[in-house]
Amino acid sequence: MDDKKRSCRILLVDDEPAITVNLAPFLERAGFAVVIADDGETALCRVDECKPDLIVLDVLMPRLDGRAVLRRIRQADNWTPVILLTQIGSPTERALALEEGADDYLNKPFEPYELVARIRAVLRRSRAGAPSLAGARRLRSGLLELDRQARRATIAGQEIMLTAKAVSVLEYMLLHPDEVLSRERLLDAVWGWDYPAATRAVDTRIAELRRALKDDAETPKFIETIIGQGYRFIARVEVVA
């Protein structure tokens, strides 16, 4: 990739200096150029000034919080990828994060390596030149189409019957194509908790999806099992205009 020519510029927004001071050098060592903003207003200025490739945005900040910053960026028709650092992490909070056009979110306290992995995944998608999936109402992969607002999935125009949880799993997979999604991550994103005992709940929903999509686990078209790691959505995902 063009990592060598110009390292990707990341705008890191957090009001807590202890976090930016420690996180910035870590991201730099991972090969990114980092610009720091310590509140929402500054963040908006920096977005215009330095045109970052990606924004890591803390939600809970005094005055202008991360959510408001994200809304303003999107209102200005700026689709720079955004990863939200959420604090409260309640299920509604998570759903809101994605609805408001964040490309991904991470619950504090996260592992810095996990943040780098998410940044790379989001950058890979955005660099491929595809429009952001996060803000799209309808997503398509081959004959499969998902209406995120109506919570409805169709194959070749035929509606398929799915439980609410299965729709949410499908949505998360479509939003993170080509990423290895661990059962814990899916649990956390869709169910809102990740007790180790519950990972089989994910397997049950994946099995439901595969049945509905007529996808064979051995020779998958959509959902691939990565043994010992989780699942990956392998088909190309596009935004339905």
Binding site: E16, I19, V21, L23, Q87, P109, A198
Partner: protein, 298 residues
């Protein structure tokens, strides 16, 4: 309510005496005098009865009001407790995130035992913070209401537990009372119930000696379905029982066993969200029986 009937005794006595006098059954002046006293008694009795009835009514009303006040108070306490947990959680998260980033920066010395020990402890704090958050979430998030076949769920659970190496030393016995009819279904969130029951069995295994039996049994009485997890483990003293299920409480006998102190609190929260109850009976040195009851759906 039977004992409040006593307040009517003076009325009854007065009436009887008055009747005896009026009916002319006796002309004995002494009795006549007494009967006259009887009508006095009648008046007195009626007065006393009215006063007592009013007293009792007021007393019941006051008690009812007290109970309502107590409920409001308890709810406020629970809310305050929840707010405190959330605030504590918020305050812990930022420093933990910073420490983790700082540790990641030191990774050039990744085989330093001091660093890896710190990393381990930070991970423990992060898990604790996540668990507390989940517990708080549970009390407010919406819970699914799908019909659940408990028998099937328990079979699945036991099969899963038996695969675990920790369970190899114990004998897990599942008994489903389903003659003449199968267990009725209950309404709820299957995944959450699975976690609750898993936690109970997990506890039973953790606190059992090797080669002992753990019984899991389910039965119904028409109104509710009960699931019991009974073990022959180390048990817990009666004085400690009321604290089980409090966040971070660990019994004196449990301190040597690894755990977060949140397992039973989680079970309690899940059961409460399913309108169920949890009762624990235990004898130190003999074992523990945890009973969950859920209302049957029709």
């Amino acid at each position: 309510m039977k004992k409040y009937g006593l307040v009517l005794v003076p009325i009854a006595l007065g009436l009887t005496l008055a009747l005896v006098w009026q009916s002319g059954l006796t002309t004995n002046p002494i009795l006549y005098l007494r009967a006259d006293a009887g009508s006095l008694l009648l008046l007195l009795g009626i007065g006393a009865s009215i006063v007592s009835v009013l007293g009792v009514a007021l007393w019941i009303l006051a008690r009812y009001r007290d109970r309502k006040l107590l409920l409001v108070y308890q709810r406020e306490q629970a809310d305050a407790h929840r707010r405190f947990l959330r605030r504590l959680d918020h305050e812990i998260k930022n420093p933990l995130t910073a420490i983790r980033a700082g540790l990641a920066n030191l990774n050039g010395r990744s085989n330093d035992p001091v660093l890896s020990s710190i990393r381990g402890q930070v991970g423990r704090l992060a898990r604790l913070s996540a668990d507390l958050r989940k517990l708080a979430d549970l009390e407010t998030q919406s819970v699914e209401q799908e019909p659940i076949d408990l028998g099937q769920l328990l079979n699945e659970l036991v099969a899963l537990e038996q695969e675990r190496p920790e369970a190899a030393a114990c004998h897990l016995a599942l008994t489903l009372f389903q003659t003449p009819w199968p267990l009725p279904s209950i309404a709820g969130d299957r995944d959450l119930l699975f976690i609750a029951l898993h936690n109970l069995v997990d506890n039973a295994i953790k606190f059992s000696h090797s080669d002992s039996t753990i019984e899991i049994r389910a039965f119904e009485d028409g109104r509710s379905v009960a699931v019991e997890v009974a073990d022959m483990g180390i048990g817990i003293g009666e004085d400690e029982l009321p604290h089980l299920g409090e966040e971070l409480y660990r019994g004196s006998t449990a301190r040597s066993v690894e755990g977060s102190g949140l397992g039973l609190a989680l079970v309690r929260a899940i059961v409460a969200r399913h309108n169920g109850t949890m009762t624990i009976r235990s004898r130190a040195g003999q074992g523990t029986v945890v009973t969950l009851r859920f209302p049957v759906t029709h």
